[in-house]
Amino acid sequence: MDDYNEIMKIAFQAEEGLDETVIAKFGRRFKDKQILIREGEIQQKIFWILSGEVYITRKMGDKYKVLTTLGKGELIGEMSFFDKSVRSATVIAKGDVHVMEFTKEDFADIYAASPMWTRRLLVALARRIHLMADKLSQL
């Protein structure tokens, strides 16, 4: 296994298992109100929040309506990443945010390095579907 796979294994086997090498390779910092993802764009990147929070918003005229807020441990951008959709929301930093950022090209290597990544991603999606099912049931 090469160094890259070793890094990914460390990164995804445990949330606390991140070291400086991983963060240096994939980490990215955003400042308050900086945009991570812009609605309407085609961009195949996925973000994993290490610290801080982000607003998930949709543009309504000249303003952004906040749909929800996501924080540490949450994944962002997985829908466009896996299903070739146009970004459906704008994601804005709420204060300083530190994320890990991955491209489409990284994913097969991430999968090979750690099956936990698949599980983590599926759990994140399932929780969101659960939340959305609850919201829909109240409409």
């Binding site: 698949t118 759990v123 829909l136 109240q138 409409l139």
Partner: protein
């Protein structure tokens, strides 16, 4: 059957007759909660206030994964609309299979992604959020 994808392993094959209820909202998740459609057609209905929101699942789709991962009882009603042949796993056996098959992992991830995307769109439409968004 000679058309089974080779990533269908560590579980077992089952089937449902036309109009058979596979599970209902409120049901416990059971021993083998994760299902893959080998052949047939399945309708998933999420409850709304006074109605339901349907999702149609064609072959080579996974369903039943949300509740064991979200650790909740069944959220929706699932019917087989035709005679449907399924493959089912317990959660750990599913992850074992997905751990050795990138293709199966992608089927699961794309399936949940698509389901969430459709639900988001439905939610947005019902709240009128689709108006004025960039397309």
């Amino acid at each position: 059957m000679d058309i089974l994808p080779n990533y269908l392993q560590y579980g077992e094959q089952t089937s449902s007759p036309p109009r058979g209820v596979i599970y209902k909202a409120g049901d416990p998740i059971g021993e083998r909660p994760v299902l893959y459609i080998i052949a047939g057609l399945v309708k998933v209905e999420y409850p709304l206030s006074g109605s339901t929101f349907p999702l149609w699942m064609p072959p080579d789709t996974i369903f039943g994964l949300v509740e064991p991962l979200a650790e909740c009882e069944r959220l929706c009603v699932v019917h087989a609309m035709e005679h449907t042949i399924l493959y089912q796993w317990d959660l750990e056996s599913f992850f074992l299979a997905a751990g050795v098959s990138y293709e199966l992992a992608m089927v699961a991830i794309r399936g949940l992604t698509r389901e969430l995307r459709i639900m988001n769109a439905e939610f947005g439409e019902r709240l009128g959020l689709s108006e004025g968004t960039a397309r």
